[in-house]
């Protein structure tokens, strides 16, 4: 069993010191890796991400992150990324990483993702340049995600996002803001490429569990949703491999 700890939307800033640290002390006994689903800072400031880095520094399990919209706000996302990388966090922006955990290859493809909405009501790249740019950004990131997942050679494949790929995990949010919370294009990308689990954040008033149209489990790990320092999900790497080979129905 591979144990995946995940959380998003920590929104670290001044005064966030030690929010996580007490709960992280036992994390290496409880999980094999930690995935961070974006919005790690309040305003994307390097001083903010350094507070988080101080809490995460020295954690003895692999850490993988995507950035969220808040992490872009100060236009210093590259610096935010570097601060995380300096303490050993792998930051994915349309990229993938493979980790060897207890002999199993765990592949993680990550992207911030973006909005647009969902089937029957998705924004179109039509009309004003601003509208075209909005939808083009989601399409570009979804295409990157599909390629990164497709190219992964792993026993387990996880898609790590900030924005939501499905509507189900948004339930509780106001319908009017769904187009700003996610896009079905992200789900389509993962359904095309295949994965064992999708993790996302961003929707603080949403719900934790859902599935893509192809049946891939989705978990909204926004901290206000899970109401813990992290949640732990277990996946059976051996079973997934057998299922892929037709050995498990």
């Amino acid at each position: 069993m591979i144990r995946i700890a995940a959380v998003g939307d920590l929104h670290y800033g001044a005064g966030s010191q030690d929010i996580l640290r007490p709960s992280l002390q036992h994390l290496p006994d409880r999980a094999d890796l930690l995935l961070l689903a974006g919005d790690l800072t309040r305003c994307g400031g390097t001083e903010e991400v350094r507070v988080l880095a101080d809490d995460l520094r020295g954690l003895s399990i692999p850490m993988v992150a995507v950035l969220g919209n808040h992490d872009y706000h100060a236009d210093r996302q590259e610096e935010v990324r570097r601060v995380l990388e300096d303490i050993g966090v792998t930051v994915l922006e349309g990229e993938a990483v493979t980790l060897d955990i207890d002999g199993a290859r765990i592949g993680i493809a990550g992207t911030k993702g973006f909005g647009g909405g969902f089937r029957g009501a998705h924004a179109s790249d039509f009309g004003e340049p601003e509208m075209k740019a909005f939808v083009a950004h989601t399409k570009m990131l979804s295409d990157q995600l599909e390629r990164a997942l497709t190219d992964l050679e792993a026993d387990l494949r996880i898609a790590l996002l900030h924005y939501s790929p499905i509507e189900t995990t948004l339930e509780g949010e106001r319908l009017e803001i769904y187009p700003f919370l996610g896009s079905y294009l992200l789900a389509e990308a993962v359904d095309n490429a295949g994965a064992d689990l999708i993790l996302h954040g961003h929707a603080h008033h949403g719900t934790e569990k859902g599935r893509t149209p192809a049946g891939i489990p989705v978990r909204n790990v926004a901290q206000p949703v899970i109401r813990h320092a992290y949640n732990v999900y277990t996946l059976d790497a051996r079973r997934q491999v057998m299922a892929a080979a037709g050995g498990v129905s």
């Binding site: 069993m1 929104h11 005064g15 966030s16 929010i19 309040r42 808040h70 813990h228 320092a229």
Partner: protein
């Protein structure tokens, strides 16, 4: 600048709280009734909760600020979920 209509006041306060770097919370609910401001939603820390009250007071001096935001717990989870 002309005095803003009261109908739009809650949205202007919400916007100000989003753009104030001390707060930067997009999920706060703001309601204004008479000279009373009601604030709701989730916040990460007790300190941020207090800051929100202070910033709201700066934005609307003379108004009563009722902060009903909730601090989200960040404790360890009880168990784990097998995902299939």
């Amino acid at each position: 600048m002309s005095e803003r209509r009261a109908d739009y006041l809650p949205e202007h306060i919400r916007e100000s709280l989003i753009h104030d770097p001390r707060v930067a919370e997009q999920d706060l609910k703001v309601d204004v009734k008479e000279h009373r401001v009601l604030l709701g939603g989730n916040v990460a820390t007790p300190q941020l909760r207090e800051t929100i009250t202070d910033v709201a007071r700066e934005l609307l001096p003379g108004y009563e600020i009722v902060n009903e935001t909730t601090v989200v717990p960040a404790t360890e989870p009880d168990g784990e979920e097998p995902v299939t």
